[in-house]
Every structure is written in C-alpha cells, then in structure tokens.
C-alpha cells in the first residue's frame, strides 16, 4: 500500500503528513508525483459532487415551497400537505437516520480491517434504506389512492418530484451499497481500499441530510 506523500514547497515548513490519502487511487499505477494536498482525488470528487447536489435539492425544495399552496382555476384535489401522515413519516425518517449510523460503523469497521463486520453493516444500511424506500412507496400509493397523483395538481407534481428525486438518490445508494458488499465479498476491495467505503458513505449521509431538510421543511413546518 502506498502512502501519498506531500512534498514540501520551496522553503516551506514541515510537510503536513497527517492528512494522507490512502489506498489505491486512479493514479497509483502511474508515474506521477504525489498529490499536491496529499488528499485523495476520489474523496475530493465526492465532496465536490455533493456540493453540486446541494444546488439540485435547493432548487427542488424551493420549487416545492413556492408551489405547494398554489391554486389556479383548474386546480383539483388537495395539496400534498393535507394528506401527510406525520407519525408514519417520522418512523421512516428515523429509519434513514439510523442507517447513517450503520454506515459509519461500516466505515470504521473496514478501517480496522474487520471485513465481515463491514459487510454486515453495509447490508444493514442497505436494508434500512430499502425500508425507507418501502415506506415512501407505501406513503405515495396511499396518496394516489386518496386522489393525489403526480399530475393531479401543481402541489402534487412538486411534491412527488422532490421526494422522487430523493428516493432515486436513496435507491442508487442502495445499489451502490449492495455492489460494494459484493465486491468486498469477492475480495476486490479489502482494507486498503477502505476509502471506497468511506466515499460511498459520504454519499449515503448526504442523502440522509437532504431528508433531514425535506422532513422539516416539507412535512413538519406548516
């Protein structure tokens, strides 16, 4: 396993070696100098992507907030807010929150080389995520039966689009977690690639914090 070393700049003081990238990176096999900051390219990529995703969800949330009570001459049906089942959604939210915990535990366990434990936590996280999605599906089919579909009115379009985007993000996360689990099982990813788990974890936590905002702003705040 190669540690990336950060070079001292000319006349610079001691190299800060406490923040080193670890594990194979895209450039590990090639003849390149160490990375400038000593940080991992892949991790930086994920953080940049998450910063970008903030704008995506901010646009969707703002759109929902703007449109949620709008009515026009053709409006029919209730707004989404009128059909919320807060206790049910609270349980879903709690489940997603706990999945963040299990994700962290997956990261720490592979960091310690505990492969089997990591796999267990990864599966748990994926399962909790799936439970969350199942809850969303149940909730949405319930709304649909009560007359609130995607195309019913502007409030419902906005609601389903926002939560749908979030749900797709969660689902992609579940797929990534399961894939990760299977790659670890096959031996493609071991302790020296622990960072891969961490990076997927970052994505998963992001999906969780977006839900924290959605739950507060869409469901709870009147």
């Amino acid at each position: 396993m190669k540690a990336r070393r950060r070079l001292p700049l000319d006349n610079a003081t001691e190299v800060n070696t406490s923040q080193l990238a670890y594990g194979p990176t895209e450039w590990d096999d090639y003849d390149v100098p160490p990375l400038t900051t000593g940080l991992s390219n892949e991790k930086m990529t994920m953080w940049a992507f998450l910063g970008s995703d903030c704008l995506l969800f901010a646009s969707l949330i703002s759109t929902y907030l703007l449109l949620r009570n709008r009515v026009g001459p053709d409006t029919d049906g209730s707004t989404a807010a009128e059909l919320f089942d807060i206790p049910f959604t609270s349980v879903s939210s709690f489940v997603l929150l706990m999945s963040s915990l299990t994700m962290v535990l997956a990261v720490t366990s592979i960091g310690r080389g505990e492969i089997e434990r990591c796999k267990m936590w990864l599966l748990t996280t994926a399962t909790l995520g799936a439970v969350f999605i199942a809850g969303q599906v149940y909730e949405f089919t319930g709304f649909y039966r009560e007359g609130l579909g995607f195309t019913t009115n502007i409030s419902s379009s906005a609601f389903f689009t926002l939560t749908g985007f979030h749900g797709v993000h969660v689902s992609l996360g579940i797929i990534m977690l399961v894939t990760l689990w299977s790659l670890i099982s096959r031996g493609n990813i071991g302790a020296e690639r622990a960072e891969t788990v961490e990076i997927i974890g970052l994505y998963w936590h992001f999906v969780d914090i977006v839900w924290i905002v959605i739950f507060a702003v869409v469901y709870l705040i009147p």
């Binding site: 396993m1 540690a3 070393r5 950060r6 070079l7 001292p8 406490s18 923040q19 080193l20 670890y22 594990g23 940080l39 991790k43 930086m44 953080w47 940049a48 998450l50 910063g51 970008s52 995703d53 903030c54 704008l55 969800f57 901010a58 646009s59 949330i61 703002s62 907030l65 703007l66 009515v71 026009g72 001459p73 807060i86 206790p87 609270s90 939210s93 929150l97 706990m98 963040s100 915990l101 994700m103 962290v104 535990l105 720490t108 960091g111 310690r112 080389g113 302790a191 974890g201 970052l202 936590h205 992001f206 969780d208 914090i209 924290i212 905002v213 507060a216 709870l220 705040i221 009147p222």
Partner: protein
C-alpha cells in the same frame, strides 16, 4: 531538494487518530434520535409561535451533526469543507433571494391566479 519520507505512516488506512470511536458514533446517533423526537413532538404538541423556529433550528443542528461527525468534516482537511460549504451556502442564499423576490416583493396589489404578478 528534500523529500519527506514518513515511514510511520505506512500501513493500513486508519482513523484512530481522528474521528470518534464506535461508541461515540452511537451516542451521536442517539442524540440525533432525540432531536428527531423533539421535531416530531411539534406535530403532537402545540409549540405556538416557537414551532417554526424550533423546527428550523433542530433541522440545522441535525444537519450540522451529521456533516461534522458522520461525514467526518470536523476532522478532515478544510478543503473538503470548502468544497461542500460553498455549494451549501450558495444554494441557501441564492434560493432565499429567489424566494423573497417571488413571495414578498411582488405586486403590492396582491397576486391571484387571474393575473400574473
């Protein structure tokens, strides 16, 4: 041209020197659960005028906790924070501006679906 070799840092990736222990993370999760509980309480109990502010504050606190601890930003290099926080701040400020423009400062005569304002 000197080159630093740091032999004590070879070996497997470890977070022992920064970040929490497993127990620490579980405590954080419990804290998050409690905060969520309080949020949900606003549905059952009337907080009156405090409802919206407390929900917002709780939301921000939970957000901050997950980012700093679960996502490790508190312990990681500042560059990651800059990357993410820039996006976050930009998102909040720009869309707050859009919202105020659309909601508060429209035609003083009011807005209804019959006219565009």
């Amino acid at each position: 041209m000197n080159v630093v070799t740091d032999s004590h840092l070879e070996g497997t990736a470890e977070h022992e020197d920064h970040g929490l222990s497993d127990l620490g993370y579980i405590k954080i999760a419990l804290l998050l659960a409690v905060l969520t509980g309080i949020e949900v309480l606003t549905y059952f109990v009337d907080f009156g005028v405090l409802e919206v502010p407390s929900l917002l504050i709780l939301m921000v606190v939970k957000f901050q906790i997950v980012i700093s601890y679960f996502m490790h930003l508190k312990f990681d290099n500042k560059i990651f924070s800059y990357l993410f926080i820039t996006g976050l701040v930009l998102a909040v400020v720009v869309f707050a501006a859009m919202a105020t423009s659309l909601v508060f400062w429209t035609d003083p005569a009011g807005c209804d679906a019959g006219r565009f304002c």
